[in-house]
């Protein structure tokens, strides 16, 4: 699968990025603080970034690098909007807990 020799085995990158992704998913599911939820989402995105970089090197194809820049840019915009929404939603409350947002019941 991998045409180039890399000093670190690409599978190691894949394993690390899978671990990061999994931690991110767990964070979104388990943590109740909206800021930590947003951070966990960023972690998931960055796991994908790491994979893109590693595979980009492995395939000698810099599409993965470009993709990563794109993702970082979009993630910044996403964080700006996310934090703005957290501020307007949780400012009236002393503590921020995602369980308090329960006017709409699935």
């Amino acid at each position: 699968m991998v045409p180039v020799q890399m000093s670190v085995d690409p599978n190691a990158y894949a394993a690390l990025s899978a671990l990061m992704f999994f931690i991110g998913v767990l964070g979104v599911v388990l943590r109740r603080n909206p800021l930590i939820t947003l951070m966990s989402i960023e972690l998931m995105w960055n796991a994908a970034n790491l994979s893109f970089m590693a595979y980009s090197r492995a395939w000698l194809n810099n599409a993965g690098h470009i993709f990563t820049f794109l993702v970082i840019t979009v993630a910044a915009a996403e964080a700006a909007i996310g934090l703005a929404i957290v501020v307007i939603l949780f400012r009236p409350r002393a503590q921020s807990n995602v369980d308090d947002a329960m006017l709409l019941k699935g």
């Binding site: 699968m1 690409p10 894949a14 990025s17 992704f21 991110g24 998913v25 979104v28 909206p34 939820t37 947003l38 989402i41 998931m44 995105w45 796991a47 994908a48 970034n49 994979s51 893109f52 590693a54 595979y55 980009s56 492995a58 395939w59 194809n61 599409a63 993965g64 470009i66 993709f67 794109l70 993702v71 979009v74 915009a77 996403e78 909007i81 996310g82 703005a84 929404i85 957290v86 307007i88 939603l89 995602v98 947002a101 329960m102 006017l103 709409l104 019941k105 699935g106």
Partner: protein, 480 residues
């Protein structure tokens, strides 16, 4: 990547021009808001938006029949992208006419700009030929929608809906992105048509990547079991935004799904990769219609109904036949107008203070406003799939596709789901006609009559689709 991008040609920009017109007009609408007095600015913004969508729609229709790879394959101009762009543009046009409540009018240019931007995103998704373009289009669409949900600051539920949508949709984007990364690892390319399953044996990385990628798409399409966010977000968001979301997001995600199914997974022996998607679609048809049974809020009811309808459309893609994509496009177009029409009726029942989405607001409507009740009945019958409506024809096309390709269990579930949905939609019709004696609900005076135009457009479109079942032949052509 197949072709390295060395020279960007004028043709490339021409391919992207409809999306650029819409996105650029959003900026102009915001500038107009700064320069013009508030009284004129609101009307101007809507007028600009309507003009932009019409211009972009006309320009995009000129490209019908042209096949071109713009930006080194990043943006594909073919029948599929043109047809989906037209559907997105028409739904944007109708959505712009629903912004009639004074409660939201203070920020109306901002609403118009955000709707235009998310429409740009959906249009880019429709023509995405590379995973990068797909991701970028999806995020332009989603980021604008988060703002649109949360912008109505006077409503607590709107902020909550915005937050829920942000968290769940970004998580889905995370899945999508991680799937893309694994697909890139397995194939070494980000061009969608080159993401072909490696020929020898079962490729674990590829299968895992495709699986995660498709889960991300299923989430955006609100297929069961990833539909939990839909009813909450649809209920909390302002009515025109819900209307837009229920059509444009689905159109964008369906275009992406269709392109992946038809170009990246062409071999029949790799179709097992798509099996989970079709199981989600099957579950959506049942859960969506059963969930809609208990709803008393039109927005929630239509949210569950949208889950089921997305299931029908995805079922049409099973087997990747030409008839499949044609019936999917036909049904999506019909669904878009039936759904937007129902939302337009709800907008006409909204006052400045309250949105007319509670089922109670429809009781005795036939006596108060017979024309409006008739329009709503028409849209509901079509959504249910009553014979000789566009909804019925679309379902017949999808049913014959599933039988043709051997995915007949999907067809059977479509029939069962439709049978259940009759009860759902007749609940609305019964409220309008049967309880005429209960005049408890106060008369509602809508702030403007603009949504009447939207109702008329949708009704005419559904009727035209009924009698002229246009199934664009060119939608089947994919540039590799």
């Amino acid at each position: 990547m197949g072709g390295y991008l060395q020279y960007v040609q004028t043709l490339d920009y021409q391919a992207l021009l409809p999306a650029m017109i819409v996105g650029g007009t959003a900026v102009i609408a915001l500038l107009a808001d700064l320069l013009l007095p508030r009284r004129i600015a609101n009307g101007t913004a809507i007028l600009l938006g309507v003009m932009a969508t019409i211009m972009a729609g006309l320009y995009a229709s000129l490209s019908y029949g042209v096949h071109y790879l713009a930006f080194g394959g990043g943006f594909v101009l073919d029948g599929l992208s043109v047809v989906f762009q037209e559907i997105v543009l028409l739904s944007t046009l109708v959505t712009l006419m629903l912004f009639n409540r004074r409660g939201v009018s203070e920020d109306r240019p901002a609403y118009v700009a955000l709707v235009l931007w998310s429409s740009t995103g959906a249009m880019i998704m429709a023509g995405a030929g590379s995973l990068m373009t797909l991701f970028l289009g999806l995020e332009i669409l989603s980021l604008s929608l988060y703002c649109l949900c949360a912008i109505a600051r006077d409503r607590e539920v709107a902020k909550e809906a915005g937050f829920k949508y942000l968290v769940l949709s970004s998580t889905a984007s995370g899945f999508l992105l991680y799937g893309m990364a694994l697909l890139f690892g397995a194939t070494g390319t980000v061009t969608i048509s080159a993401l072909i399953h490696p020929a020898t044996g079962i490729h674990g990385l590829y299968a895992l990547g495709m699986g995660i990628f498709l889960i991300g798409l299923a989430f955006k399409l609100a297929l069961v079991p990833f539909h939990i966010w839909a009813p909450d977000v649809y209920e909390g968001a302002p009515l025109p935004v819900t209307a837009f979301m229920s059509v444009a997001t689905k159109a964008g995600a369906l275009a992406a799904l269709a392109r992946v199914i038809y170009t990246a997974i062409p071999q029949p022996d790799a179709h097992w990769l798509l099996l989970p998607t079709f199981i989600f679609a099957a579950a959506s048809m049942l859960v969506g219609n059963l969930g809609a049974l208990a709803q008393t809020d039109i927005k929630r009811l239509l949210a569950y109904s949208a889950v089921a309808q997305a299931g029908y459309i995805v079922a049409a893609l099973a087997g990747a036949t030409e008839l499949g994509i044609r019936s999917a496009v036909y049904y999506l177009a019909a669904y878009a107008f039936m759904n937007l029409g129902a939302f337009a009726v709800a907008a006409l029942l909204s006052s400045d203070r309250e949105e007319g989405t509670q089922l109670v607001a429809y009781e005795g409507l036939a006596a108060r406003q017979p024309l409006l009740a008739a329009a709503m009945t028409f849209f509901m019958l079509s959504l249910a799939g009553m014979p000789i409506t566009a909804g019925f024809l679309g379902k017949i096309f999808i049913l014959s596709t599933t039988i043709h390709t051997g995915y007949w269990p999907l067809g059977a579930l479509l029939v069962i789901g439709s049978a259940v949905s009759f009860y759902v939609y007749f609940k609305v019709i019964r409220a309008m006609y049967a309880r005429v004696e209960r005049f408890s609900h106060p008369e509602v005076r809508p702030p403007s009559q603009l949504p009447w135009i939207a109702v008329a457009i949708c009704a005419v479109a559904v009727i035209v689709l009924t009698f002229v079942p246009v199934m664009p032949g060119d939608a089947t052509f994919f540039v590799k």
